[in-house]
Amino acid sequence: MALDTDTKTFKYIGTRPDRPDGLDKVTGRARFGADFSMPGMLHGAILRSPHAHAKIVKIDATRALALAGVKAVVTRADFPTGLTGEDWNIQENVMAGEKALYDGHAVAAVAATSQLIARDALKLIEVTYEVLPHVTDVDKAMAEGAPVIREGAADYSVPEGLHPNIVRYMDTGRGDLDAGFAAADLVLEESYKTEAAHQGYIEPHACVGQLGADGKGELWCCTQGHWFVRQMCTAVLGLEATQLRVTPSEIGGGFGGKTTVFIDPVALALSRKANRPVKIVMSRSEVLRASGPTSSASMDIKMGMTKDGKITAASGTFRMQGGAFPGAPVDVTTMLAFANYDIEHVHHIGYDVMTNRPKQAAYRAPGAPMGAFAVESMLDELCRQLDLDPIETRLKNAVKEGTRATFGPKFPPVGLIETLEAARAHPNYGAPLGPNQGRGVASGYWMNWGGETSASVAIGEDGTVQVSIGTPDIGGSRASMALMAAEAFGVPYENVRVNIADTGTLGINEPTHGSRATFASGLATVEAAKEAIGKLCKRAADKWGIDAEAVTWEDGFAKPSGPNAGEFPPLSIAEIASEMGSTGGPISGHFESSPDGFGGSFGTHIVDLEVDPETGRSTILRYLVVQDAGKAIHPAYVEGQFQGGAVQGIGWALNEEYVYGEDGCLQNPIFLDYRVPVASDLPMIDTVIVEVPNPGHPYGVRGVGETGITPPLPAVANAVRAAIGVRMTQLPLTPPRVLAAIKGRG
């Protein structure tokens, strides 16, 4: 797609106005998922397996149905049969069939006149289980004799003879590894592990569903992508896609975890049976046990380097479990593990493995942080053993425009070198360190995404602008859209209203995922604005009796242009709008596409931390995020993405992990025990926005949401290495693990 990259000086873009939904969000009136209710609404609750792996012998709901106030019970028998592929996976995950596949797997659901009655009714549903052997660790799940989660789940890519839990296999690379390693002065090999982390959005999943016997329904829910919800719910329930209208609420965080469904089809199934709307809200322990955390990973890395710091060859084997279904993001891990660097000889092997854990969902840069942890840890170790500066060494190997990526294509303009140079120049890189303190550096990448996108703009009768987009605003994107629309039309920011449209109002939109909302919905908004501007110019041309081509649009006004256009006073958008009913009707613009000019974003982080030698606890002293935004539309929200991504990564590196007991049940399904970073754990998070414009967006935007979680895992681990003198290869770096490493030292 050819787009005119507009390089003029911006009037609105790059400023920091108040977000349009600010007042709603600071007064408590913004309506999030659980805030929506309907007349006649019932409350749903879900019965979940207490076993990690068990055959469901019998479900008897007689006593539950006899409880006053109970209106419906559903089990898998209430869902259609015959689904295949990912549709079947989602159906099986939202309601277990023959087996419960993990601790927390849904086995039945009830709708009642109150939440308390619904919860009481769950206790009256009798499920007979036959408990089966389970496995939750990725390496154990691949080993001979491991319990089989499901026969026949592997796809064509898996070589014969591997364990049935291995469901996808990847093998990619180029060059001659032997020659590459032979050219190295130092070759290192090491194994690394990361544990599963949860997105940890503060708002649990919530929805209200209404579905009639006519197959028509409505759903209100907190989601990153309501067209995805529509597709998944209608597939799981055997409905026609457009007969379900999905309206997104405000969303209380998602980070990838709200791009799929867990409770929505269940609420609709209960509604269909009870003939009333049904609301379901997950508890926090349900979120942790039965929504979609990310994968855990086990990785073997080998890298070679010359004594002056050139990487000669690299190879990695990546094993990742994604719960009881195919889909661990190991394809992305293999793609991005070495993507920062220009490496001639490179090889990746990936295994997607099933275990008795919840079905993984996307989590911010899915698959990238694990590989980055392994590779950037090893790069740090190579630099250490060869006495090289970590930033200079990264600069020596950094990819740039034209470099053939380790995953194949040549890079378009990218900003890794610029982030490294800015990091090197930042005062944090030279700040003095005391005893037990260490500094860690790491870089990371996310390729970003375009995806199916529809947007429309409509001119109001007073000349204000209404923008309708389909990507829920999860972090201030209404402000970015309004800034881009204001820039395109040349109208004040305050004159733009941005609405998140439901599935009945626009064409298909992929979710707010892949760091795509500001890029793709922003591009669509600008292009839709250009279409509307063309119509505004035409109205002015008709009024003046000249050709439309002789009219230009400038700062909110139509103006005659060129030697033969004639002399006419400029017409404002408000003047044209006020007459549009009698000059041809409403004026609007639309844009639909799957834009492919998304530009990837590189980042470099520097962290200083102190390890308490008596407890093993790490305290972050300083943290710097440098990242390429292409063009920061609203810099404050770009900084916010950098800071939020970094802190999630710090949590994953230091504290957060899924802890499974011998029984295969999750041991820490509340926020007290699944400990995300709190305010007192952290210093201010310093940021530097680098801007290497993306030629694929009219204003140069790159997505910025995901890259920020990729460098923190290795940056923190590298800093701990510097502080304690021991290389830690398994995350999280909890105080007991670090203390054990310190005690084990020499």
């Binding site: 408590g28 959005y201 405000e250 007290l672 995300v676 709190v678």
Partner: protein, 159 residues
């Protein structure tokens, strides 16, 4: 199980509701009174999204029973602005982009207001420890702390 009749004061208004003895104050605010500004993020007192004050004391309303509100004075996020005038904390949160998704924001604002009423001039460390019971997953807390510091300064200058 018969319901309990509760008479309480919420944001200065006398309010009556009937509640099940098992219902929390958060359930009653949201489902009985229709004040949905306080959010349930955990139900175990770990996230602070349900923060309100009860007779001036900051509490997690998910850890208080609805029946305990009898005769008490409760303030919620809905009572923070005076008519059209936002509280300085509310204004500064918007100005500093101290929220991304905004679901933790009501609880953090209520908690920060309680802090500044006790201590108008807290250090950054005091702020971070006071707000340690309010989880925010989006921002990394940087802009939240800056907004609270800025609001505190403005409030000190105005007093």
């Amino acid at each position: 199980m018969s319901k309990i009749h509760v008479t309480t004061t919420i944001n200065g208004d006398e309010v009556e509701y009937l509640c099940d003895p098992r219902e929390t104050l958060l359930d009653c605010l949201r489902d009985r009174v229709g004040l949905t500004g306080a959010k349930e993020g955990c139900g175990t007192g770990d996230c602070g999204a349900c923060s309100v004050t009860l007779d001036g004391r900051l509490v997690c309303s998910c850890l208080v029973l609805g029946a305990e509100a009898e005769g008490k004075e409760i303030t919620t996020i809905e009572g923070m602005a005076q008519g059209d005038d936002l509280h300085p904390l509310q204004r500064k949160f918007i100005e500093h982009a101290a929220l991304q998704c905004g679901v933790c924001t009501p609880g953090i604002l209520v908690a920060a207001k309680a802090l500044l009423e006790k201590n108008p001039d807290p250090t950054e460390t005091e702020m971070r420890y006071w707000l340690a019971g309010n989880l925010c997953r989006c921002t990394g807390y940087d802009k939240i702390i800056r907004a609270v510091m800025d609001a505190a300064e403005e409030m000190r200058e105005a007093s």
